[in-house]
Symmetry: C2
Subunit: 313 residues, 2 copies
Amino acid sequence: MDAGVSPVALAACPFELGSWSRDQLERVERALSAWVAADAPAGLGEAMRYAVLDGGKRLRPLLVLAASEAVNGHPDAAVRAACAVELIHAYSLVHDDMPCMDNDVLRRGKPTVHVQYGEARALLAGDALQALAFDLLTPEYSGIPAATQAQLCRLLARAAGFEGMAGGQAIDLASVGHSLDEAQLRAMHRMKTGALLQCSVMMGAACADPAVAVDSRTTAALNDFGAALGLAFQVVDDILDVVADSETLGKTAGKDAARDKPTYVSVLGLERSRAHARELLAQALEALDRSGLSAERTRVLRALAGAVVNRSS
Amino acid sequence: MDAGVSPVALAACPFELGSWSRDQLERVERALSAWVAADAPAGLGEAMRYAVLDGGKRLRPLLVLAASEAVNGHPDAAVRAACAVELIHAYSLVHDDMPCMDNDVLRRGKPTVHVQYGEARALLAGDALQALAFDLLTPEYSGIPAATQAQLCRLLARAAGFEGMAGGQAIDLASVGHSLDEAQLRAMHRMKTGALLQCSVMMGAACADPAVAVDSRTTAALNDFGAALGLAFQVVDDILDVVADSETLGKTAGKDAARDKPTYVSVLGLERSRAHARELLAQALEALDRSGLSAERTRVLRALAGAVVNRSS
């Protein structure tokens, strides 16, 4: 079952997202397979590859590549940024699934990393994936300007750290069994999942030639687009956790409710959550309207926003 | 009890290391206290600060600052690099102490982070410290050239990841109960502790003005210095694990032997380990001799090398 949000965005976008996505995903999978540490010692590489390859929707890489396309970004920088943000996402899932956190045994339809390789190796694989993300962003011999490399590291470090993903996870952990109001829930999700999604858009934008700076209006609009989309993603996630089954999701469904975690559905109810997802999609698209970028340049970002809100898994 | 290595290096260095170190440590402590996330949400900042502040020898920061001084590096870049490498070291200790790894309860004379705050928060604090390291290296408004920022991220990411520290920890984990020969032990330690110590020296060197490139002879010599010193550090660590008591070390003594982990002492014996530490110190000092840097410029690096080998904790 899908999230039940009307497919307004996709109808407004005749552009064929599926074909674009397939091509880009092929690039991303090839790059990840080449870069993720097959030869890391003592089984570490195997666990890292297991955590990253052959699974996942790759939404964050697609957002990076779409935003880079919107600003005519450096292609190699964009693929590196796409893979780096996916490595951060993948490491966070590995650690989040561990017994001391969510203690989950199923992820993307497979046993989680610690179930497969033991907790110690899962911990190290997550740590090594985070380091590898910054390694990928700073190739020594490449045509990627140093200013671009530094900016990509800056964006990713902040989105992953205490002001972003890790901070949001700490709030999430502390909120189990407590009731949050909508503002608190939003603040948590802006950090926990929103920051990395928004960062994906901004990393794509940061792939533009530093000599031809993206103007501040465009940067601000893309930032707003990323913020709205990041939150919409979480609202839909909370809806799907209630309405979809584990097989469709590839992870344990209903687990937030079972753990007494506050969600959009528990705070707003199902119908108001669906309406909120539609509002956030409208905000995201409106941000692109005022970006100063042509409809042609932003067509992929528009289509991705629609797909995020209308997804069924 | 000290490691029993003769104080040859200190005798050859009339320079007063203590006074230099006190001044530098004050800079580092002040910077860490300002930068480590007091306001991170849900107790995360508290755990991060507990892991980093008020403890530790700060050898890695001192190496960064000493190497930067040797090449007349950018002072702000050097302090940031010094703190960043210490954050990576601190996060690795937090994760390494967790029950699924070494399961240690005492560190720097205090309960370990997971004992104090629980495993979940310890895991997240470690993750957030790693991200913060790269955040510190990429300040948006600063006089630090983008090329320096990118190079610092590059060095740190590689030293922390699967080719360095995390890879070495994976080998360490897999080696419990197995016998390693000296070459295997060296390979493990070059990654596990050596990579980050060597990286500290190279990060200091990378603080030089990119417009006045440090020549390749100097870079190679500093790299050799860092490699020898990194290994010497571990040999002395293994000696102290046998000859010192927990109170002096501020951590559990004798734990490697208790866990049947291969060490330099178990492979070479105590006397040959001491001789090996002296040889490595000599190699480190010889590398500085051929660096092309003046004795005045390298005096702190020389004194630090001596202190590493002659330490008692």
